[in-house]
Amino acid sequence: MADPDTPDGAPAPDTSAASALLRELVAHLRQNRTVLREEWARRITEAQLLTALTPEEIFSEATSVYDNYVEVLETGSVEALQDYARNLSERIIPRGVETDEVLGIVLLLRDVLARSLFEKYQDDFNRVLDVYEPAANRIANTVAINFVQERERVIRQQQEAIRELSTPVLQVRERLLILPIIGVLDGQRARQLTEQLLRGIRTNRAKVVVIDITGVPTIDSTVANHLVQTVDASRLMGASVIITGLSPEIAQTLVTLGVELGKVNAVGDLQGGIEEAERILGYQVSLGSDSIEDSQLR
């Protein structure tokens, strides 16, 4: 795995002098911890960053970030910071904190510290920057990358959850399943849907399945073929499939694409599909004398 945090080379010209200077900088930053931290927190509020957090929360996070920051400057190891950044992201992402805010506060800290160092080392500031800049950039980089990675992880997790939720297989009557599909069908979802349906057929001992695609806006030839395969595979397991809710547009597309749908049993809407399924299964549904519809009809 490539390590995104490796510094981009350029070793300091004089290592021992540089590290001595770095120690001095760290000591300076430790000494002025309270002032700088407050200055930073103030600038965060001023820039209207992290508005999702309370001022107390901002201050306590600022303290942790500050200490981590100085520690990374001192040791040059970003591992602890990485853990902290991941942990921080986990906490603040659900609160709606955006990438630019996180990046913004880290850059603010960088500037606050640089300014404070500039005040102290005005004459020799170039040498200070040589030491300070690579470390500071690396920290900003680490925090940003970890934040983005965490966000991506959350997004992936949610996608997975949506997918799981999006293909329910429901039993409406003994041996009759319905499978309402809502949203765009892609190859992967179509495959997952088939797998879930086949498993559903086995566990519910279904004889008839109604697949309702009213909520599917468009279908391409791959997905259409997948539907045909689903129908065939269900038949192999002894269940017949009724497809309902093919919109006029989709019907037109399928015919234009020349998808072989001759063997597929299609009914206009879900109600018709369920009625057809009940007919196949031998159910006879009749209105009771005291039903609501009956009394309304009178």
Partner: protein
């Protein structure tokens, strides 16, 4: 391993217990045909529940058995195709179009019985 074939009233039940070699498949075909002739069976159920893979030779042979028994007046029902197997089969284009299928042994017997019913009504 030979596939046991059981007689159940007017039907035969061939229950496949383990993965079949090509020889086993041919043996099964011959056994089914001779038993159908001997017992004058009206239907055959081939139970493939134990198979978690079905290659093209096996599925082609099963289809062949169904066609042959039909010529002897016996309907064949394949039962117990697993979800994964069903999916793999249709992806390979083997969809048993002219062979009857059912979920399991019970369903298969019920299917044969309903088909038998009207034709057998007089006797």
């Amino acid at each position: 391993m030979a596939v046991p074939i059981l007689k159940q009233g007017p039907f035969l039940i061939a229950s496949i217990q383990a993965a079949l070699t090509d020889t086993d498949v041919l043996q099964l075909r011959d056994d089914v045909m001779s038993q159908v002739t001997r017992h004058r069976s009206r239907g055959i159920i081939v139970d493939v529940t134990a198979l978690d893979v079905m290659d093209s030779f096996v599925s082609r042979s099963l289809r062949g058995i169904a066609m042959m028994t039909r010529l002897r007046g016996a309907e064949t029902v394949i039962v117990g195709i697993q979800p994964e197997v069903a999916f793999a089969m249709v992806q390979l284009g083997m969809n048993f179009e002219d062979v009857q299928t059912a979920l399991d042994l019970e369903e298969g017997l019920a299917l044969l019985q309903t088909q038998e019913g009207p034709a057998d009504g007089g006797s």
